[in-house]
């Protein structure tokens, strides 16, 4: 009996083996379609809610905002708006909207849709993470508190004109109108889908959702009525989720997938960049990102600026960059190189151990001191944290490492007095929009200080805050240069206070199959992260 059972089992096994494996390239689809792999499932496509790096550009392909950026650049340009005008006091923006644009459900896009969209974001019931960006619109607070039926500052002038009035001028306002949160959605579609709108999004964008199998794949299909003629180039995009980066890499080499959404797996990075056949499939670009260590200015002995400057001088950034296979460039200031307002002339704190030790002695710590460094536990952050630990030990600062889950670190950072040092990796700041004030308000301002803040340095300099408010009031286009100069001054002042140790600016490496092409830089678009899907073409077969 046992022998027979064995034979049957073996037979079953053979049958399984002989059943044809999925033919290679089944995921690709051929024609003008492509496949992108991701490890994590796509969370939501509701523009008011989606706020992670993965769904950010997918949402940008399904919905549109009044403003957008030219592909692969940080240059603002009107999008659903045809043109805009700013009042002389800088507080009122009047947008003339494009005509003839249709939502995916067929209805024409009109000005009242803009009002609806913004009010939806500001409505607490929506639980939108972006509500704070539009808080400066007149009447927003009253609306959010439930005291008003609508936002008084948003006026529908006529079918294709809308005006927005702010409480005070904000030079970055147009950028906020390009954020996903302001991407226009039709009221009837939201009402129909209810809480499931995030899975059945409707917008005016270049792509529409065709199919979404939770945990497996999301399929987008071309919008034939997209208002930008000639876009998108692709007919269909399939996002395969749950794919481990190492395996995705193998599949790319077998031409089963087209883009590695999570990037080149770190283990293979050096091999790929060293192989002339493979490295031409890699697009390289800069990001609006800085990786830094926050120094809690309210914790002893880090409250002494000399100590903070000493820490800045102790870090060997070149070695740390090497540990991550040179996928970044050392940073010496808060802003990344791509950001307007970046100060090329600024040299920052040089790597100088002797000087660092001298400063510590001056501050009263000739033998160093003990402190704690928090870090995210996903690779490569523990390694970077250990490298920082060794560098600080060299000047006598003995650091205890706490590598924990992201949510725990974020919580510790936002709790007063709890986290002396935090390595921001894995949670590092990527700008919401390419304006220098985005690196200030949420993570370095006095305004942001409250339990749960993301200003983990608990830094507050009232003089600097005043300067930023002034800079933000420089709304007119003619003031752009002066504003940039002012921000350079602002960030120099901040660096002099040294609430951070800027360590590196990560570059983005996107590997794609040979059959894809497009305008240079769209595979590492700084705004449509990681890839500008509307602009991808198929050039091979």
């Amino acid at each position: 009996m046992k022998g027979k059972a064995m034979i049957v089992l073996l037979g079953l096994l053979l049958a399984l083996v002989l059943v044809p494996a999925a033919p290679p390239g089944w995921g690709q689809g051929g024609g003008r379609s492509m496949t992108v792999t991701f490890k994590d499932d796509v969370s939501t496509l509701d523009p008011a809610i989606g706020y992670d790096w993965q769904n950010w550009s997918i949402i940008k392909s399904i919905t549109d905002g009044l403003m957008d950026y030219e592909p692969a650049t940080t240059t603002l340009t009107p999008h659903l708006a045809e043109s805009y005008a700013v009042s002389s006091d800088g507080r009122t923006y009047t947008f003339k909207l494009r005509r003839g644009v249709r939502f995916h459900n067929g209805r024409e896009f009109v000005a009242s849709d803009v009002k609806y969209t913004l009010e939806r974001v500001l409505n607490p019931k929506t639980q939108s993470p972006g509500a704070g960006f539009y808080g400066s619109i007149q009447g927003a607070k009253a609306f959010a508190d439930g005291k008003a039926g609508g936002v008084s500052g948003i006026k529908v002038v006529d079918k294709s004109t809308v005006s927005i009035t702010l409480e005070r001028p904000n030079a970055a306002f147009l950028h906020t109108m390009a954020l996903n949160f302001a991407h226009v959605v039709p009221q009837e579609a939201v009402a129909k889908a209810g809480a499931d709108f995030g899975h059945k999004p409707v917008g005016t964008g270049a792509f529409m959702v065709k199919e979404w199998a939770l945990g497996q794949r999301l399929v987008l299909v071309r919008n034939p009525n997209y208002f930008l003629r000639g876009r998108p180039y692709l007919d269909q995009i399939t996002f395969q989720v749950g794919v481990e980066p190492n395996v995705a890499f193998l599949r790319l080499q077998r031409n089963e997938v087209d883009i590695l959404g999570d990037g080149i797996p770190p283990a293979d990075f050096v091999k790929v960049m060293g192989d002339s056949r493979l490295n031409k499939l890699v697009a390289v670009g800069d990001q609006l990102q800085t990786g830094y260590v926050t120094i809690n200015t309210q914790v002893e002995p880090l409250n002494d600026v000399r100590v903070r400057r000493a820490l800045n001088m102790a870090i060997d950034k070149t070695r740390i960059v090497r540990i991550i296979n040179n996928r970044a460039v050392p940073a010496n200031q808060v802003l990344p190189p791509l950001m307007p307002g970046y100060d090329k002339a600024y040299t920052g704190y040089a790597f100088d151990r002797e000087q660092a030790k001298k400063l510590l002695a001056e501050a009263g710590y000739p033998n160093g001191f003990r402190t704690t460094l928090f870090a995210n536990n996903t690779d490569p952050n523990p390694r970077i944290a250990q490298a920082i630990q060794q560098d600080l030990a060299a000047i006598g600062v003995r650091v205890e490492l706490k590598t924990q889950a992201q949510s725990t670190v974020i919580e510790a950072g936002g709790t007063k007095g709890q986290a002396p040092l935090i390595w921001s990796g894995g949670m590092a700041w990527i700008a919401d929009y390419p304006d220098p004030n985005n690196f200030y308000w949420p993570i370095l301002s006095c305004d942001a200080l409250a339990p749960g803040t993301w200003n983990w340095a608990w830094y507050c300099n009232r003089d600097v805050e005043k300067m930023v408010i002034e800079a933000d009031a420089m709304v007119q286009p003619g003031q752009a240069a002066a504003r940039a100069a002012k921000f350079q001054e602002i960030y120099r002042k901040i660096m002099s206070d040294a609430p951070w140790i800027p360590v590196f600016n990560e570059r983005r490496y996107t590997m794609h199959s040979a059959r894809l092409g497009g305008v240079r830089g769209i595979f590492v678009d700084p705004i449509h992260i990681p890839v500008h899907y509307d602009e991808v073409r198929v050039i091979g077969k």
Partner: protein, 337 residues
């Protein structure tokens, strides 16, 4: 809750080979090999005029080269762990700039770094030497604690059954269903992370599997005639447990104690990953594997060497345990069941 880390603590049973004196010499499964002949000779001691079995435990153990090998291996590992500062050529935490290539890749084994370097340019050999302390401690102590707790629960439940058995086994179910991972994260944030916390968590989580299997075994054994006989005769319960029941559970425990070393070491790595256990840069075998897994195809030595360390440890304990179990077999010593 991911079943994964609970999967890591798999259970095993190894029902004790209950050889009564009557089965001596009639084992058709024994193939003729030197060791089995020796065993046959040993068990033939019950018959008058046969060769006497080795009197002492040590003498018995010495007859089996595999056990000697196992003891030597354990001895070497323990020595290395205890004398780590003298054995390791380098500081395990020191990141050498020359330990990485220009592009930041680790170095394969070479003259200077015998086992190669890890992803931060640290000497792998030194890290494994120091790591032995943690892994041995966890693999043996934490595992042992889990075994003890689990056996107590499972044996009591299986022997007494009834209301007590029900409560114990349902409690076991509850602990099995409980999300250990989340408990670990919570502990990591609340308590000061240390190795003892890890040992505690492991013991608290892993005992359920052995409890379940011991329960099954005891259910079956307790119904056997010799136990019934002992009970009828009036042997007090603790004596039944220790003299009659426990020897039959020994093989299970020994196998669990050996195969379990591997899984427990890897479990410690997961816990440390969550921040509960050893803090970087303290090395452990499981931790090294954990952080280097995705680099396996490019830098296999980072997984192979610690992996071999774990394997050798488990095997060594197994080899010794096997022989010790036979040596402690009451039937071979001539005592009846």
């Amino acid at each position: 809750m991911t079943g994964e880390d609970l999967r890591a603590s798999r259970l095993n049973t190894h029902i004790f080979t209950h050889r009564g004196p009557s089965s001596v010499g009639t084992n058709p499964l024994a193939t003729s090999s030197p060791s089995s002949t020796a065993r046959a000779a040993a068990s033939a001691s019950a018959r008058p005029g046969a060769v006497r079995p080795p009197a002492t435990l040590w003498a018995r153990v010495k007859r089996h080269p595999s056990a000697v090998f196992g003891l030597v291996a354990i001895g070497v590992l323990v020595t290395v762990a205890v004398f780590a500062p003298w054995v390791a050529p380098y500081d395990p935490a020191e990141q050498f700039t020359e330990g990485l290539t220009i592009e930041g890749r680790p170095l394969p084994p070479n003259a200077r770094f015998w086992f190669g370097t890890d992803l931060l340019g640290r000497d792998l050999f030194s890290r494994l030497v120091y790591g032995a302390r943690i892994s041995l401690l966890i693999g043996v102590v934490a595992n042992g604690a889990a075994l003890s707790i689990g056996t107590m629960f499972g044996a009591t439940a299986g022997y007494f059954q009834g209301w007590l058995g029900m409560v114990f086994m349902r409690f076991t179910d509850l602990m099995m269903a409980f999300p250990a991972l989340i408990l670990a994260i919570a502990l990591a944030a609340i308590l000061r992370p240390s190795l003892w916390i890890v040992a505690l968590v492991i013991a608290m989580v892993n005992w359920v599997w052995i409890a379940r299997v011991i329960y099954t075994q005891v259910l079956s054994i307790a119904r056997r005639e010799f136990i019934e006989a002992a009970r009828v005769v009036g042997v007090p319960t603790p004596r039944i447990f220790w003299r009659h029941l426990f020897p039959h559970l020994l093989p299970t425990l020994l196998v669990w104690g050996t195969l379990g070393i591997s899984t427990t070491v890897m479990f410690e790595a997961s816990l440390s990953f969550l921040g509960v256990g050893v803090r970087p840069p303290t090395p452990s075998w499981g931790g090294t594997i954990n952080e280097s897994q995705s680099y396996f195809l490019e830098a296999p030595w980072l997984v192979a060497f610690p992996g071999m360390g774990i394997l050798v440890t488990s095997l060594a304990f197994n080899l010794v345990g096997d022989v010790m179990r036979d040596a402690l077999d009451p039937t071979l010593r001539g005592h009846g069941p």
